[in-house]
């Protein structure tokens, strides 16, 4: 199973206070942002700051991912070269295309760095299969709805019906390739109910986690993407029943009068694995 990535928290790459505390917010991953969160005049300074922080700080078990500048800019390649020294867990590639991912893969192939393309345009969405195939380092795909709707020339709404197809496609393709589908951030940081609703919609379509733009969003997102106590108890019962049946040499498994088949056991095992990674059991 993939590493748990219920939440991926964006942290500005020019903010040393947040970077040095990246492990305290409760996110499964942090995305230290060198792109949109950093002004054009601070790209050089932020790159050095992020490089030094990653080389010197112990950020615990939190996964560190750095969003680089676009590969269509000079900054993008400079970012990657700095990160070859700093060795974050991952690099996030904005405005991903198959071509950009191949270039990044070539530069990082001697390291253990993993990749997360961002799908934020119509072309990227329709070629997401090619993008994932472009590198075996890809472990997840982030959907960027703000840029995507801008590219489409359509209005972004809280309700999100305009991104139904994109979410659905990304989730399905990611599932097919066994990589995580990370949903677009919910941008109203003061609307907790809206965040929960939006997160539930993404989950219902097959997203496996969600990006956060404020630490306050983490608890709600983690809650949606974590199994409940009832789900964990039910999963444990199913696994125990399956193990007992195997010991007794029974081909057919039943629990509380219902037949348990392979997909149900597989789903139960996933629930338990997520619960373990989330320290819920």
């Amino acid at each position: 199973m993939n590493k748990l990535r219920r939440t991926m928290l964006f942290i500005p790459g020019d903010n040393p206070g947040m970077i040095q505390n990246a492990d305290v917010f409760g996110a499964d991953s942090v995305i230290i942002d060198l792109e949109d969160a950093v002004g054009a005049t601070e790209k050089d300074s932020s790159r050095l700051l992020v490089r030094n922080a990653l080389m010197n700080l112990d950020l615990g078990i939190v996964e560190t991912v750095v969003r680089i500048n676009g590969m269509d800019t000079e900054e993008g390649v400079e970012d990657i070269n700095a990160l070859l020294l700093a060795k974050p867990d991952g690099i996030m590639v904005p405005k991903a295309t198959e071509e950009y991912i191949k270039i990044v893969h070539e530069i990082i192939k001697e390291t253990d760095i993993i990749l997360f393309p961002i799908i934020e345009g119509a072309y990227s969405l329709e070629t997401v299969t090619d993008i994932i195939r472009a590198s075996d380092r890809i472990k997840g795909v982030l959907f960027g709805a703000e840029d995507f709707t801008a590219d489409m020339g359509i209005k972004r709404t809280k309700e999100g019906s305009e991104i139904f197809y994109a979410r659905n496609r990304i989730a399905t393709v990611c599932k097919a390739f066994g990589v995580d589908a990370i949903d677009t951030p919910f941008t109203d940081t003061n609307d907790e109910k809206g965040l929960e609703k939006d997160t539930l919609v993404g989950k219902s379509l097959g997203m496996t986690g969600k990006a956060a733009i404020n630490p306050r969003q983490i608890e709600i997102i983690n809650g949606v993407y974590s199994p409940t106590k009832e789900e964990i108890d039910e999963a444990m019962k199913i696994i125990n029943a399956a193990e007992k049946a195997a010991e007794e040499g029974k081909g057919v498994i039943s629990l509380d009068g219902k037949m348990i088949d392979a997909p149900i056991i597989s789903r139960a095992e996933k629930v338990v694995e997520i619960a373990k990674q989330a320290d819920l059991i």
Partner: protein
Amino acid sequence: MKILKPAKAGTLESSDIYITVYPNDGEGINIKLESIVMKQFGSQIKKVITETLGELDVENVDVVAVDKGALDCTIKARVEAAVRRSSL
């Protein structure tokens, strides 16, 4: 690296340090430091700044540093950024 013009890097936000470098004419390294943790870490901050300048082969520079509790890795990044900007 030679300091050709004044340059700055960093901010006055908490956990950061604001570094300004100025060229000087063969007067060595001079550091003027303000810090919220001057008593405890003033000498350590100056040491980090001096070491970073050494790594960048800077021999003559006036540095003004206003520290807001930056870690060593932040101090080094801000000094390097200011020096690189000054030598462009």
